[in-house]
């Protein structure tokens, strides 16, 4: 029965969340919305790691350790990303990525 939760349910939930985040990261104009999309994608990856760990190797918690690493990397990424956005904002008074065109000619 499809309503009984199995590994595939968690994986499909994570896939949909990943795609929502990917769409947010690709189709948005504001640099901070792009950061939020990336956070959603990293969370989807974490759901995958924990679900695989729970259903395929419940005795060894390697998936948990990996997801802690992913969380730490996400924290570093958002700190650097926001610092970049703020310093660009100080320079250009905008966070619209279509205006970030220094390297374009």
């Amino acid at each position: 029965m499809i309503l009984h939760v199995s590994l595939n349910h968690y994986l499909i939930l994570a896939a949909i969340l990943f795609c929502i985040g990917l769409y947010g990261a690709v189709a948005k104009q504001n640099a901070i919305s792009i950061l939020m999309g990336i956070e959603l994608m990293l969370n989807a990856v974490n759901i995958n790691l924990i679900a695989f760990n729970r259903f395929m190797q419940p005795a060894i918690l390697v998936g948990h350790v990996f997801s802690i690493f992913v969380i730490a990397l996400a924290a570093a990424e958002v700190a650097i990303g926001l610092a970049l956005v703020l310093s660009v904002y100080r320079d250009r008074r905008t966070v619209n990525i279509e205006d970030f065109n220094w390297l374009k000619w």
Partner: protein
């Protein structure tokens, strides 16, 4: 149709719909502050999913780091970069439609691949507590990645300070 459902199944469906509705609202909300708040809601739902998967430590870490630190940081970013009214701050870029097509195709491919795969399920109870085993793994097998992540976090925080404050040559 609903008989034979356990509490865990029902909780999963509630949490999954919460996550997907809030996640869609993160992308669809017109106001960037509302998008950030919906992101907090998504993180809480994901934390519930971790509890359901019997990953108690990760659930707590999720709330502490994502809700407590990352969402607050992003909120700061929103507040520091939006000066005029917040009405249309979450606009789409020029290639919103082609992005939707590509992402939709990608999702379709993933779901087809997932449903075609047969997983090697281990029907085994989860460990009664996860903090001790995680610590054991982190400080034995994964001690080098652990130290690398520590260095990376330090460097990232220093880099964030220098990027936002500006490096100044000391006389």
């Amino acid at each position: 149709m609903l008989d034979g459902l356990t509490i865990a199944d029902i909780v999963f469906w509630i949490l999954a719909s919460l996550i997907l509705v809030a996640g869609t609202s993160v992308v669809m909300a017109r106001n960037l502050v509302h998008a950030a708040l919906f992101m907090v809601l998504t993180f809480f739902g994901i934390s519930g999913i971790y509890v359901l998967l019997e990953a108690d430590f990760i659930a707590v870490v999720q709330i502490l780091i994502y809700v407590g630190a990352i969402a607050v940081l992003i909120m700061f970013g929103v507040m520091l970069t939006q000066r005029e009214d917040m009405g249309e701050t979450n606009a789409y870029s020029a290639h919103g439609r082609s992005a939707a097509i590509v992402v939709g195709t990608f999702l379709l491919v993933i779901i087809i691949a997932l449903s075609a795969t047969k997983w090697l399920i281990h029907p085994q109870a989860a460990l009664p507590e996860t903090v001790g085993p995680i610590a054991d793994l982190m400080l034995t097998t994964f001690v080098i990645p652990f130290e690398a992540v520590a260095i990376l976090l330090t460097v990232a925080v220093l880099g964030a300070i220098i990027l936002s404050k500006g490096a100044r040559r000391t006389p």
